[in-house]
């Protein structure tokens, strides 16, 4: 069921299998029937590792969501808490344990910390007086979760906020640990490049850990040639822009969570013959999106403007395939046709689904509002009037458009202008506070601290230089048959991916100037391989680079990297890893502070 993970250049199913094995081992430690109490945040990521069937095989009979009060009754021997190591969750667990019915046969309690156990949490449980109630306290090291054949994510939502706002590097520690796990399975990565403070920190920790575990390293031929660590704050611009790939737009509009998207149901109503579509489904339609679906793999990274053509081409192929049945004359031919039927039917329903999704998206992308918004974004990216108050933003505020949309635009203007003029800066802030409420002063403060929205300081605006040197704006982006990564934003080439591209060829030395303008150090490290593990490269064999985005990556950036992998002369294949899959909205949201108001 996770076959799509193994089709890529690197078989990420190995990682998934390792994770499953560990899970099974833990479950078997708690003999007898069990119920799992979930930290709700974990269910999504866990779904990518193990379905309910696996849990069931190991005698998991019930599943609950962690909440305060008494645990629901369940006639099981073991209660296992699957939680992140957070203090507030410990308090809930303590409450659960305390209110356990003493009259019943006692149930055994266990805790599984994901991804790491924490002394702080155990201390808290001890203070609450329940630590001794637990038979097993274990950790389940789930740092990097395989999302697709070329994509790993830690789904660590607050990583960017913690690193850049709160100076809390927990996520980086987990990143380093995750990379060590990865190296244990796929061999030591001989070359490490990085840009940014967090990248430097992760790399330092990795090198230290390698020293610590020297000797235990396995003798595996390295699968990855290079690791590139990129701080999100090196490229603050890209996530702010509206993604224009198919997958990017689905995420922007509906949000993709742990590989699933929830869509408005109307378009997906089953039209049965003779039956009027009287009872429209009210539950949102939930679809899984990954490369296991052939059609989706084909179109997800296309610019949305090229999706329509791709879909209609596909439609023709499928109906032609169905037509084949008329040509099937002999029993053998019919048999062959029938054997292909399930595959064809799956393809047909997949096509129907994506046609519906594309229609939904098209309604939005053809709207004037979408167009106006995009125009302004592109103006900013090309450096038009970034030093003035923008009328469109003003109008949007006056219309009380969603605050996040405003923040995305304002931040974008700030980033593209290397900070806003004090007057413009204050004007925007005042408009936002007056319109959306003064409590957002905290959010604005956060944005300022993380460098997304800031006043211009003495130095000149170096964004134009960066744009020109790295060719961030391509005038004639070809959306249908792209020849450059800029197609993913219809003109704008994501800075992060340009850095990746330049690193592969001709190398960062050619852009030293620009690298100095971007925040944080850039560096290169080498990890010694045990002799005998040096790869003998076949002629024409591609190199593999793992690009790790610290603080999040967007689907459009992923699409751009996949595009680079597929380019015939690139000679490089990319595997993507990140702390969290983000888009501008979820990203800004993670930086917002909303004090809970007590006054009604």
């Amino acid at each position: 069921m996770a076959a799509h993970l193994s089709y890529g250049r690197v078989n990420l199913n190995i990682l998934r299998e390792a994770a499953r094995k560990e899970l099974r081992e833990f479950l078997d430690k708690c003999a007898g029937s069990k119920a799992i109490v979930w930290d709700e945040y974990l269910t999504g990521p866990f779904g990518l590792i193990a379905q309910y069937s696996l849990l069931k095989e190991h005698e998991v009979e019930k599943m609950f969501t962690l909440k305060s009060g008494r645990l629901p009754s369940a006639d099981v021997k073991n209660i296992i808490f699957f939680v992140r190591p957070r203090l507030e969750l410990m308090d809930i667990i303590a409450e659960n344990v305390f209110s356990e019915d003493k009259m019943h046969t006692p149930r055994d309690f266990h805790i599984l910390f994901v991804p790491r156990r924490s002394m702080l949490c155990e201390q808290r449980l001890k203070e609450q007086g329940v630590l001794a109630s637990f038979i097993n306290i274990d950790e389940y090291i789930l740092d990097l979760i395989p999302y697709d054949g070329d994509l790993l994510s830690m789904e660590y939502e607050s990583a960017f906020r913690e690193c850049y706002l709160e100076n809390d590097q927990t996520s980086l520690y987990h990143t380093a640990k995750g990379l060590m796990t990865l190296q244990a399975l796929y061999g030591t990565i001989p070359q490490i490049y990085g840009k940014g403070d967090c990248a430097r920190h992760v790399s330092n920790m990795m090198l230290r850990m390698k020293r610590e575990f020297a000797g235990s390293q396995n003798q595996i031929l390295p699968v990855f040639d290079t690791l590139l660590l990129l701080d999100r704050n090196v490229d603050l611009l890209t996530p702010l822009a509206t993604q224009l790939t198919y997958e990017g737009l689905i995420d922007e509009i509906y949000g993709i969570n742990n590989g699933y998207v929830k869509l408005p149901p109307e378009k997906f109503a089953q039209k049965k013959q003779g039956e009027a579509s009287k009872d429209l489904p009210t539950e949102p339609k939930k679809l899984q999106l990954n490369s296991a679906e052939e059609l989706y793999a084909e179109i997800r990274d296309k610019n949305f403007n090229a999706v329509g053509a791709a879909l209609s081409k596909k439609a023709k192929i499928i109906s032609a395939a169905f037509e084949e049945r008329h040509n099937a004359k002999t029993v053998g031919e019919i048999k062959q046709f029938v054997s292909q039927l399930p595959h064809m039917q799956a393809a047909r329903s997949s096509l129907a689904n994506h046609t519906s999704i594309a229609e939904l998206i098209k309604d939005i992308t053809t709207s004037e509002a979408f167009f106006d918004n995009l125009t302004v974004e592109q103006e900013f990216m090309t450096g038009v009037d970034t030093d003035k108050v923008n009328t469109y933003i003003e109008d949007c505020i006056a219309q009380k458009d969603p605050l996040i949309k405003i923040l995305r635009l304002v931040c974008m203007q700030s980033v593209c202008n290397n900070g806003l003029k004090q007057k413009v800066f204050d004007y925007y802030k005042r408009e936002i506070l007056q319109t959306y409420g003064y409590e957002h002063i905290l959010t604005l403060n956060n944005l300022e601290k993380s460098g997304l929205l800031r006043p211009q300081t003495g130095s000149r605006n170096n964004y134009p230089t960066i744009r020109k040197t790295l060719k961030l704006w391509m005038e004639d982006a070809n959306e249908q048959n792209p020849n450059d990564i800029s197609y993913v934003y219809s003109g704008y080439a994501p800075l992060s991916i340009r850095l990746t591209q330049v690193l592969a060829r001709p190398g960062w030395r050619s852009i030293e100037e620009v690298l100095k303008m971007l925040p944080g150090p850039h560096f290169e490290e080498r990890q010694q391989l045990p002799s005998g593990l040096h790869k003998k490269r076949q002629q024409g064999e591609n190199r593999t680079t793992l690009v790790f985005f610290l603080g999040g990556v967007t689907y459009a950036e992923i699409a751009a990297l996949r595009f680079l992998s597929q380019m015939e002369d690139s000679g490089m294949e990319y595997i993507i890893a990140t702390t969290k899959l983000i888009n501008g909205t979820t990203w800004i949201k993670s930086l917002m502070d909303r004090p809970e108001s007590q006054t009604p």
Binding site: L87, Q123, Q169, Y173, H201, R211, E212, Q434, L442, Q598
Partner: protein
């Protein structure tokens, strides 16, 4: 070579042989007489103490438990009474008799010596206390077998081994048994009384069966089993009552077989669960044997019991056959997994059944493939063509593979290196004629034999057989070498056997270093240097582990020096905390990157230090400080404030007050918190935030006032929402006031008012408003908002006022295609014409033509 069978003695269908292991290196003045001796199996060490001072009583244990040895019974007959002032010497030897430790025994009289599985010496004293010494004679710890024993005294004691570890059993002067199954997890069990038993039984032993530990004892002819709760009389099957009193008993290495010896010289053997009899042997000796030990090997052909009297060693097979060996000197028998070691004052021998494969090869006139191969190789070395004949014979039976296997296996069982060599050479020779024969067994056996020959050397003194070595595993062998401080040899073995560093060399180095730091005659500096040079960055050696050892030995400075070399910062932290180097611990925790560890140290410091010092410490560690802030944000808001205060972080302090203000229900407290925020923002020179917060306060007061006056329900709304609500309520004047007071930009206010009036359909008001001055938002907005309320009539009013650029849009908005077309044509704007065209239906033929013409004209 021809004499290999010279020391073979037939016993039933099998053969027994006695191989000399060592000439003992020791020189014992009185031999083994008058001594308590304990020799551990698997070639373990030997502990001896003279029994001069406490042999007043006649109680030495007579039967031998499987693992530890009791002293020879000879002591009983001639107890030496010397003055109590002369202290006996406790001596520890290696198996080959090399002295390891020797010291005068200063404690009370010892009843029994025994070795634990981890090579520690147990000395069980008369008063029931058990003293534990390590291999080098240093005292480790002690425990007691019970207070009441001090009175009644231990008559006999036994050390035994079971899956639970090493245990001790005693019988006291009041005929009571007490046992502890695992001395490392001491739980004393007092066993029930035995009916009719006075003093000690005639013989007894400890059985470990079905996870239960029991005592089997004989009182005259009666046999009892004592378990936790009861004492049961038992009767071995087939032992006739005429056989007499049982005076000696022995159980096999695996607790599977039992041997009983009666005072009529009758030897009964059977299963230890007393279900089955194996044999009866009449030894025709009525004196009690000094020692009786089972001699078996795994897959034994012919198990036997070895009995020892003063001048005779008797091997009694289960087949009723016997072998007799005369002995000159007093000996000690040590039961092993696959034989019996016989230690005398001058030498040491191994008595064992000849393994089947050795029989096959070396038996006179054997035609086994291995034997033929050995012969073939011998002829080959003589360059004789007979080699070919032998080889042909094996090959004809297609037994060459088997022949090689036999030679390899037999080599493993041989003790003499030259025999090993000739067997291995024969195997190697045979292998040449085989195509796909796995060399693994050959290579492994070669390696293992080299290792075994090395550890059997008298200087090392571990006379292990190959079978024992396989059973104990190479890891344990290395441990034992390490424990005996043969570090270089251990390292050589690890390297030679290619054991991964983690389990091999590193482990040895770790032990070496832990031992090194205890050397008192060297300076901290010298030791640290020596350790660092040797250990370097060997994988898996934990410097913190070594440092912890140093700290235990009272050398904190050395510990700190060693910790410096620890690569894993995380590992250093617990020890540093223990050593009260909390500052250092904190910086190491930070270095490790493990935030949980940092939290741990921080919470430790928080409890250890006063608040001022604590804050100061954090201040020097920004990472720790920000983590602690995070913690406070979630858990201790008040502390957070103190932290900001101490750092003079006015900006954050202000933010803190803002956040806090939202938690307040009462407006007054809310305002006062906001005022604090304003003050702090001012201190932080954040003019904008200060002003904004003042504005907020002003708005709150305004809202409260209107809520009170008009019940408007405004409190908590944003400024924009407040104005919106005011307009909706028709409170235009108040809205205007806010607009002016808060210097709301015209554009935003116009939008607001426009929408509000349209919503309330106050069209006249709207028109008035539109004319009040030039609209800052243009007039297209008016058109669109009116259309949104579906009022085309009103919308039309504003179309004429729209700027030329937006004219087309405005006409289109009200659905006036012609007007739009005219405007577009007038502006000669192609894309606008296109936009109009796209809205035209097919029926608008005239219009389409007009537009097309205009477009064409432009081209």
């Amino acid at each position: 070579m021809a004499f290999i069978t010279a020391n073979w003695n037939p016993l039933g269908e099998a053969f027994y042989r006695k191989t000399e292991l060592y000439e003992m290196c020791w020189s014992l003045k009185d031999g083994l007489r008058d001594s308590l001796v304990a020799a551990a199996p698997y070639g373990g060490p030997i502990g001896i103490t003279r029994t001069r001072t406490h042999v007043k009583k006649t109680h030495m244990s007579r039967c031998v438990s499987d693992f530890a040895l009791s002293p020879p019974a000879a002591v009983l007959r001639e107890p030496l009474r010397r003055s109590p002032s002369s202290r006996p010497q406790l001596e520890i030897f290696s198996s080959s008799g090399v002295s390891i430790a020797s010291f005068p025994w200063k404690s009370g009289p010892v009843v029994q010596l025994g070795w634990t599985v981890s090579d520690e010496l147990l000395c069980i004293q008369e008063d029931g206390s058990v003293l534990i010494y390590d291999l080098f004679g240093s005292f480790k710890r002690h425990f007691s077998m019970g207070q009441e024993v001090v009175q009644s005294q231990v008559l006999e004691a036994k050390v035994f081994h079971s899956p639970y570890g090493t245990g001790v059993a005693i019988v006291t002067g009041s005929a009571k048994f007490t046992l502890a199954t695992n001395i490392d997890d001491l739980k004393l069990r007092r066993l029930p009384e035995v009916p009719g038993l006075q003093g000690k039984p005639s013989c007894w032993l400890v059985l470990s069966q079905d996870r239960q530990t029991k005592v089997l004892l004989a009182n005259g002819p009666d046999l009892f089993i004592l378990d936790n709760t009861s004492c049961t009389a038992v009767c071995p099957p087939g032992l006739s009552p005429q056989a007499g009193s049982i005076v000696h008993m022995s159980v096999s290495f695996s607790y599977k077989y039992l041997a009983l010896f009666t005072d009529t010289g009758h030897l009964w053997t059977g299963t230890a669960n007393l279900q089955k009899k194996l044999s009866d042997v009449e030894t025709k000796r009525s004196t009690k044997p000094k020692q009786m030990v089972w001699c078996r090997r795994p897959q034994s052909q012919q198990p036997s019991v070895v009995l020892m009297w003063d001048r005779l060693l008797l091997v009694a097979g289960v087949c009723n056959d016997t072998i007799q060996f005369p002995i000159e000197d007093l000996c000690v028998l040590v039961g092993e997994l696959d034989g019996v070691r016989i230690i005398s004052s001058t030498n040491q021998e191994l008595l064992q059944e000849v393994p089947l494969v050795c029989q096959d090869i070396f038996k006179i006139a054997s035609m086994a493939p291995g034997a033929l191969l050995l012969e073939a190789h011998r002829e080959y070395e003589k360059s004789s063509q007979k080699a070919d004949e032998y080889l042909r014979e094996i090959k004809e039976q297609s037994m060459l593979g088997e022949a090689v296997r036999q030679c390899v296996e037999a080599a493993g069982h041989e003790y003499d290196p030259s025999t090993q060599k000739s067997l291995m050479r024969a195997a190697s020779f045979g292998k040449c004629f085989l195509t796909d024969f796995s060399p693994d067994a050959f290579v492994t056996t070669c390696r293992e034999l080299r290792v075994l020959n090395a550890v059997r050397d008298a200087a090392v003194g571990l006379p292990l057989t190959h079978t024992q070595f396989k059973q104990m595993t190479v890891q344990v062998l290395i441990d034992r070498l390490v424990y005996r401080q043969f570090y270089p040899l251990a390292i050589e073995v690890c390297r030679y056997l290619k054991i991964p560093d983690y389990q091999g060399v590193s482990r040895v180095l770790k032990h070496w270093a832990s031992c090194k730091v205890q050397q008192k005659d060297l300076s901290d500096e010298a030791i640290a240097r020596a350790v660092c040079v040797k250990v370097g960055d060997s994988p898996g050696v934990s410097y913190s582990h070594i440092a912890a050892k140093a700290y235990e030995c009272g050398r904190p400075e050395l510990a700190i020096k060693l910790l410096d070399s620890e690569a894993r910062s995380g590992e250093q932290v617990p020890l540093l905390l223990k050593m009260k180097r909390s500052q250092l611990a904190l910086s190491k925790a930070v270095e490790s990157g493990d935030t949980d560890l940092v939290y741990t140290v921080v919470s430790y410091l928080k409890n250890e230090m006063n608040r001022g010092d604590f804050f100061m410490t954090l201040r020097n560690q920004p990472v720790a400080l920000s983590l602690y802030r995070q913690f406070c944000k979630l858990q201790e808001q008040e502390t957070l404030k103190d932290l900001y205060n101490q750092d003079d972080d006015h900006q954050e302090l202000a933010n803190y007050y803002v956040t806090a203000s939202y938690r307040e229900k009462r407006l007054e407290s809310r305002l006062s918190l906001l005022q604090s925020a304003v003050d702090e923002y001012n201190k932080a020179k954040n003019e904008f935030a200060a002003k904004a917060t003042e504005e907020e306060m002003r708005l709150l007061r305004f809202q409260r006032k209107l809520d009170d006056e008009k019940g408007a329900g405004l409190l908590g709304l944003s400024l924009q929402a407040t104005m919106e609500a005011l307009l909706a309520l028709g409170l235009h004047k108040q809205a205007e006031q806010l607009y002016r007071d808060f210097r709301v930009p015209d554009k935003r206010y116009w939008w607001l008012k426009l929408k509000s009036l349209a919503e309330k359909e106050e069209w006249d008001e709207l028109e008035k408003f539109a004319k009040s001055k030039k609209s800052p938002i243009g007039y297209l907005a008016f058109v669109e908002v009116c259309m949104k309320s579906n009022n085309k009539y009103e919308a039309k009013k504003y179309v004429s006022r729209v700027t030329p650029e937006q004219k087309v849009k405005a006409h289109l908005a009200i659905g006036d295609l012609e007007g739009a077309a005219d405007a577009a044509i007038e502006r000669r704007n192609e894309s606008e014409m296109g936009a109009v065209l796209s809205r035209c239906a097919a029926s608008d033929r005239l219009l389409i033509e007009k537009l097309n013409r205009a477009a064409a004209a432009k081209k």
